[in-house]
């Protein structure tokens, strides 16, 4: 666009021609700002401003009944942070959030990778299979959590029915309300956090399509030649995956892990709808909600959300550092 100016030869008429160009560019720039302003306005008002305000609220005393009179100039206090950091529930929920995030991200990416590799070669009905794989991700969260809750219901859920009649379970498993169960494996009694594992499994099921989409796109864009060369050289299919295909997927897997970590760490809907945060699944975001609606303490809710963002930022910093050290570009 701007290179057009240099094309013009320096002739005596130079003065008028470039001037006209420049005014066009200037007009374009002004128009650009105009066209951009509604977006800027709404994003500033609904995203950026609330984020800053949330930090302010976290330093103020604010109860739910007072929010009709909320103002910016209340005295500042550290009471909310003392309250949040001083409660044992906070540290417990932080641990749960970490386990939940780690388990869900790893599971979702692994399942996505498996699915993407499985449908890599063309076959009849591939489009339909691919579309079916995406269903858990696009369907409304309230609907899929309700289906899971019903399927896992101890009284009439299909999973417990099949478990009892086919796999010979002695009694139904309360998947979503049991904090800790025991697995009887070869005489060993292993304690397992049933509800937490169930929610992680749900996350794997619901979000593997996201990883699947990204990985499939990368696989499709990949040149087949190095792989062919490896096969010709006598590499087994596993070796060609491990040493040729997988290394090319690592950058996208890193990106997926980051995106999924951001979203899973602050995930609210899924846990709230599945367990309500009970039975050892009280992740940080559900606690924020409880501070807000049950304890009616807006200040503490804001403080917890600020702490959560800080933890998230630190987590992402570590991620980026590790990835950079491994020489991956993200």
């Amino acid at each position: 666009m701007s290179t057009a100016v240099t094309d013009e030869t320096p002739t005596p008429t130079k003065t008028s021609a470039p001037k006209k160009r420049r005014t066009l560019t200037q007009r374009d720039a002004r128009l650009g700002l105009w066209l951009m302003s509604p977006t800027l306005l709404i994003v500033l008002a609904i995203v950026i401003f609330p984020l800053l305000w949330s930090i302010l609220i976290s330093f103020q005393r604010m109860r739910l009944i007072e929010i009709g009179r909320a103002d910016f100039f209340k005295p500042l206090t550290l009471a909310n942070y003392e309250r949040v950091l001083g409660s044992s529930a906070f540290w417990n929920s932080l641990l749960i959030t970490f386990v939940y995030t780690f388990g869900s991200v790893v599971l979702a990416v692994l399942l996505g990778l498996l699915a993407a590799m499985a449908v890599r070669q063309p076959f009849r009905g591939r489009t339909l299979v691919r579309a079916s794989f995406l269903l858990p991700y696009v369907a409304p969260v309230v609907a899929v959590t309700f289906i899971w809750k019903t399927m896992l219901n101890p009284q009439f859920g299909i999973i417990n029915q099949i478990g009892q009649s086919v796999f010979g379970w002695d009694e139904p498993i309360p998947f979503l309300s049991q904090t800790e169960g025991t697995w009887n494996l070869f005489g060993l009694e292993i304690p397992v956090p049933t509800a937490l594992l169930t929610t992680i499994a749900f996350e794997g099921w619901r979000y593997f399509p996201f990883a699947f989409l990204f990985l499939m796109a990368r696989l499709a864009a990949m040149s087949g030649e190095p792989e062919e060369a490896a096969l010709v050289d006598g590499a087994t299919p596993w070796q060609s995956f491990r040493f040729v295909v997988f290394p090319q997927l690592v950058p996208i897997i890193g990106l997926l892990a980051i995106l999924r970590t951001i979203w899973t760490f602050s995930e609210f809907d899924d846990i709230f709808l599945l367990t309500g945060g009970a039975a050892g699944t009280g992740v940080a975001s559900v606690q924020i909600y409880n501070y807000l609606t049950v304890q009616r303490n807006v200040g503490a809710a804001a403080a917890q959300s600020v702490i959560m963002s800080l933890v998230l930022i630190v987590l992402l910093g570590i991620y980026l550092l590790v990835l950079r050290r491994r020489g991956e570009r993200v």
């Binding site: 374009d28 720039a29 002004r30 128009l31 650009g32 700002l33 066209l35 509604p38 977006t39 709404i42 994003v43 008002a45 609904i46 995203v47 950026i48 401003f49 609330p50 984020l51 949330s54 609220i57 929010i67 009709g68 909320a70 498996l114 499985a118 070669q121 489009t127 079916s132 794989f133 269903l135 858990p136 696009v138 369907a139 409304p140 969260v141 309230v142 609907a143 289906i147 899971w148 019903t150 009439f156 299909i158 029915q161 030649e225 062919e228 060369a229 096969l231 010709v232 087994t236 299919p237 951001i262 602050s266 609210f268 709808l273 924020i288 807000l292 807006v298 959300s305 963002s309 998230l312």
Partner: protein, 312 residues
């Protein structure tokens, strides 16, 4: 580029190595077979995991609750038991003994359609500006949008809850539309910008030369070319707004007449009095529009992709 020129000669004389391949041992053959079979096992397992829950949803929605409780392990519905009464129950208004999902559907539709309209109205000019017009701070704005998109909704929930209460917007569908628009505009801009950038600049310049203003170019040339992309962006926004739960919960929970379908289902699914089969019908009602749109967009998107392929 250089590696390609090196690689091509050997692959042209690929015939002898192909004969050599079986020599590399049984390990190779065993693995190849395992991968071939394993692949179908994996595909079947994923299909079961993704489709059975939705099948189960539809199944439960067409049988009476007594049939479910008497034979909970059944994965079929007997013709004698088949019923659509569940849908009548869930959709009809509370006044006539139903659950009022008809009303919720209307609310959801209004909110989602308004969000689509607003997001496109705001997003199209914005995307065009980012793609074409060299205004100050253009690059930084993209970064801000990315951050806005990545930032978890729960962190904005508290100040928005407080602020909208003060403005009197909480408890109204308008408040919800504003939030959904703000949440989806960054993605909409991202999607549309990519498309506007693929429109050849020469076409637009021809329009400028022919005496159209920039806005005229946007309206009469770029918009028409970008129609498929605008459609799919709109449907994407629709899906997000239709599926959203957190803000609907925070803003509307104490006003039943304004519940969206998502909120309605989540609130009523805790109740013991409403049969699960009736709620499953509600779940189908909630999911069906999304599934229809999803399969429509799939075709639209692949259609757009192949069209681009022909040109390139």
């Amino acid at each position: 580029m250089t590696s390609q020129t090196v690689v091509t000669p050997p692959s042209q004389v690929a015939a002898p190595p192909q004969q050599r391949a079986p020599v590399s041992g049984t390990m190779h053959r065993v693995q190849s077979r395992a991968f071939r079979i394993g692949r179908w096992v994996v595909i079947a397992a994923f299909l079961i995991a993704t489709l059975v829950p939705f099948y189960y949803m539809v199944l439960l929605s067409v049988k009476p609750i007594e049939a479910l409780l008497s034979d909970p392990g059944s994965l079929t519905v007997k013709p004698s038991e088949f019923t659509l009464q569940t849908y009548v129950d869930v959709l009809s208004p509370v006044a006539s003994g139903g659950q009022g999902f008809g009303r919720f559907l209307a609310n959801s539709a209004v909110v989602a359609l308004a969000s689509v309209a607003l997001a496109l109205l705001i997003g199209i000019p914005g995307a065009y500006a980012i793609a074409r017009l060299p205004f100050f701070g253009r690059r930084q704005i993209t970064g801000i949008f990315l951050a806005a998109y990545l930032f978890p909704a729960i962190l904005m929930a508290i100040p928005l809850f407080v602020g909208f209460t003060r403005l009197g917007l909480r408890g109204s569908l308008v408040g919800l539309v504003i939030v959904y628009t703000a949440q989806t505009v960054p993605v909409a801009i991202y999607m549309l910008r990519n498309y506007f950038e693929t429109v050849p600049e020469s076409i637009e310049e021809a329009g400028l030369v022919d005496g159209l203003s920039r806005l005229g170019v946007l309206r009469q040339i770029s918009l028409k070319l970008a129609m498929p992309s605008i459609m799919s962006t709109g449907l994407f926004v629709f899906m997000i707004a239709w599926n959203e739960f957190l803000f609907a919960l925070l803003f509307l929970v104490d006003r039943r007449e304004r519940w969206t379908v998502s909120l309605g289902l989540s609130q009523l699914s805790g109740s013991v009095e409403i049969p699960t089969t009736v709620l499953m019908a509600g779940s189908v009602v909630l999911t069906l529009p999304i599934i229809i749109i999803f399969f429509a967009t799939e075709r639209l998107l692949t259609g757009g992709l192949t069209a681009g392929g022909e040109k390139g």
